[in-house]
């Protein structure tokens, strides 16, 4: 089987997975007690039961769940994500405003985290049991034992509260007019520092261990000894011969971890009032806003599946030995 057919097969697998995820979430939110109409009406006594019935009918909520699911799918394929019950706006607009905010956090975390983890992982594996190794291992242990939202709170207390170096919430300083576009960027960058640092810290803690242990394992292989024996320079042995193979598990992990990073971002976005998808998810989860929740679920599912596909492609490129079956 060629690389192309392999990737086609992997892509085809995405379709049932996508339906499975949306079906699970659709069923979950529709089976839950409480309906959106009651929540919208709230304590408003002016609305008569007859009017309530009509609203339920308008939203199509009186149909059985499977009919509602098929209708939702049909609208989805026409490109219609619906209208938010809670925000009275088009869901497509609400969601598309928030996607870049989350992507920004995730991409920066993935890139900075990966770079840091590789550098630290290689250094620590080469100098196993050194002081550097000890410090990094301890740092990683703290990084994955500390809850990220707590680190966020501590970061806000120290850097925004006590030292007043960084802003504590949002994406921009409101009410300030900046002279140039660079000042606007600089302001935004300052808002990014705290949330990104905390996400990176947690992410590096995981990746670092993976790179380090994988590198240690590769460095014990015979072909590394052979390379050294024939006089290849140590730098070349480590970065060319060893690193490439040591990165195989890391590449897969990176792609499969989109859901993990996304969930981490949801908590951090809430702590820093960052207007992204994660905070939006937290905001709408409680109010039975079906169209918005479903649109968010689709985006989350697509992001995760895309991450898996990228991992598969990257794996196939990095590892020429892979068998496509």
């Amino acid at each position: 089987m060629t690389l192309l057919t392999y990737l086609t097969r992997r892509s085809i697998l995405i379709i049932p997975t996508f339906f499975l995820i949306t079906l699970i979430i659709f069923t979950l939110i529709h089976l839950a007690p409480g309906d959106p109409v009651s929540i919208m009406i709230g304590t408003n006594t002016k609305i008569t039961p007859a009017e309530k019935e009509r609203m339920i009918e308008d939203f199509g909520l009186n149909e059985p769940i499977h009919v509602q699911y098929v209708e939702w799918l049909a609208r989805l394929f026409r490109g219609d994500l619906g209208h938010s019950y809670a925000y009275h706006q088009s869901v497509a607009k609400l969601v598309s405003e928030r996607i870049p905010r989350t992507l920004e956090l995730m991409l920066m975390t993935e890139v900075i985290g990966l770079a840091l983890a590789i550098v630290l992982g290689v250094v620590c594996a080469v100098k196993q049991y050194s002081l550097t190794d000890g410090v990094c291992k301890f740092g990683a242990l703290v990084g994955y034992s500390a809850p990220s939202f707590w680190l966020g709170l501590m970061g806000i207390t120290v850097f925004a509260g006590m030292l007043q170096w960084l802003p504590s919430f949002g994406v921009e300083t409101r009410g300030t007019i900046f002279p140039t576009i660079f000042d606007v960027w600089f302001d935004h960058l300052k808002h990014l520092i705290l949330p990104v640092s905390i996400l990176v810290f947690g992410w590096v803690a995981y990746l670092f261990r993976l790179v380090r242990s994988s590198m240690l394992e590769v460095l014990r292989q015979d072909y590394i000894t052979t390379a050294r024996a024939k006089g290849v320079r140590e730098r070349v042995v480590i970065y060319k011969h060893a690193l490439r193979n040591a990165l195989l598990p890391v590449v897969t992990y990176e792609g499969y971890s989109i859901g993990f990073i996304l969930a981490g971002a949801a908590v951090i976005e809430t702590v820093f009032s960052w207007p992204g998808l994660g905070k939006f998810w937290v905001d709408v989860a409680g109010n039975r806003d079906y169209p918005t929740l479903m649109a968010l679920s689709i985006i989350v599912a697509l992001m995760i599946l895309l991450g898996n596909l990228v991992a598969d492609i990257a794996y196939a490129i990095v590892d020429p030995r892979i068998r496509y079956d």
Binding site: L13, L28, A32, A146, T157, G161, P249, A266, V267
Partner: protein
């Protein structure tokens, strides 16, 4: 001299036949004690368990005891870890919160173990189409964003928040365990002792449960130990985000509560529960690492 040696070695071959459970445990115990970090981690885990178990006896005040002193007294004054804005004792709330965390951690891990073991052993032992289907399902579940689904589930089913957390995180937490168990079964089912058992007429479920299962326990226990902090995180994150019972004694609830006083005169309310989570999960992780070395489990998961 010669004869004595012979007697000794004969005796020994008799014993080697099967090392008793106690001997095996003693070996693991000795190796564990040799690692200082593992002992440290184990001590933390033990302490947290004791605190969780006897929380109402240890805590000087109850969760509803207000105005034991003035509100917002700083730590290390007349109250050990200070009081919150309602004048409740932060130390007592921490002690009572340990119970919630451990309850969720243990409950979810037991559910994960039940599902993961069942799926892993069936997939690994029977192989073929069953294996293929189960592992594809595991792949899908593995990529689901657990915390986001937890948020959804807890906000949809408001009653019994803590049990919903256990149920959902256990239902989503099994794929890695199932993979590990499956790979153990794949290799163990081809060993001589399994063949011997089969040739003696042991049924397949007897082989699966009595012969292979005990041999997978090392890796299962290590994995489960290191999953407990995850479930503790989930519970704390959810209650911190405002999902779940706001009156419960939980580290996440306390942090959510203390969040408002961080910049003013109450930094300790949110700081201490976070430290409690950090120390607890550090304990489980160190202990798990130590167990892995002592039980000689291969490091790489896949």
């Amino acid at each position: 001299m010669n004869s004595r040696l012979n007697v000794k070695s004969e005796k020994r071959t008799d014993k080697i036949h099967k090392p008793s459970m106690a001997t095996q445990l003693a070996t693991v115990w000795r190796k564990l004690r040799a690692s200082r970090l593992a002992v440290f981690g184990g001590a933390i885990v033990f302490a947290v368990f004791v605190v969780a178990l006897f929380a109402p006896l240890i805590a000087p005040y109850g969760p509803e005891d207000r105005y034991i002193t003035e509100p917002l007294r700083p730590p290390f004054s007349e109250v050990w870890l200070g009081t919150d804005d309602l004048g409740r004792d932060v130390a007592s709330l921490l002690i009572l919160g340990a119970r919630t965390s451990i309850y969720v951690g243990i409950g979810a891990v037991l559910l994960e173990a039940a599902i993961g073991l069942a799926i892993g052993m069936i997939a690994g032992y029977f192989g073929g189409l069953i294996d293929e289907v189960l592992m594809r399902i595991a792949d899908v579940v593995l990529t689901l964003p657990t915390l986001m689904l937890l948020i959804l589930a807890v906000s949809m089913f408001e009653m019994q928040g803590i049990n919903v957390i256990i149920l959902v995180s256990g239902l989503l937490g099994w794929p890695l365990l199932a993979r590990v168990v499956r790979s153990e079964y794949l290799s163990l089912k081809q060993t001589t002792f399994v063949e011997a058992a089969r040739s003696m007429g042991a049924g397949q479920w007897r082989i699966i449960l009595r012969h292979i299962l005990p041999n997978t326990m090392s890796s299962v226990i290590v994995l489960l130990t290191m999953d407990i902090p995850w479930y503790i995180f989930y519970e704390a994150s959810l209650t911190f985000l405002g999902f779940g019972d706001p009156t419960a004694a939980s580290w996440g609830v306390l942090m959510e509560h203390g969040r408002r006083f961080l910049s003013s005169q109450g930094w300790w309310i949110a700081t201490f529960p976070g430290l409690a989570i950090l120390i607890t999960s550090l304990g489980f992780n160190l202990f798990g690492d130590g167990l892995r070395d002592a039980l000689d489990v291969k490091t790489r998961v896949q």
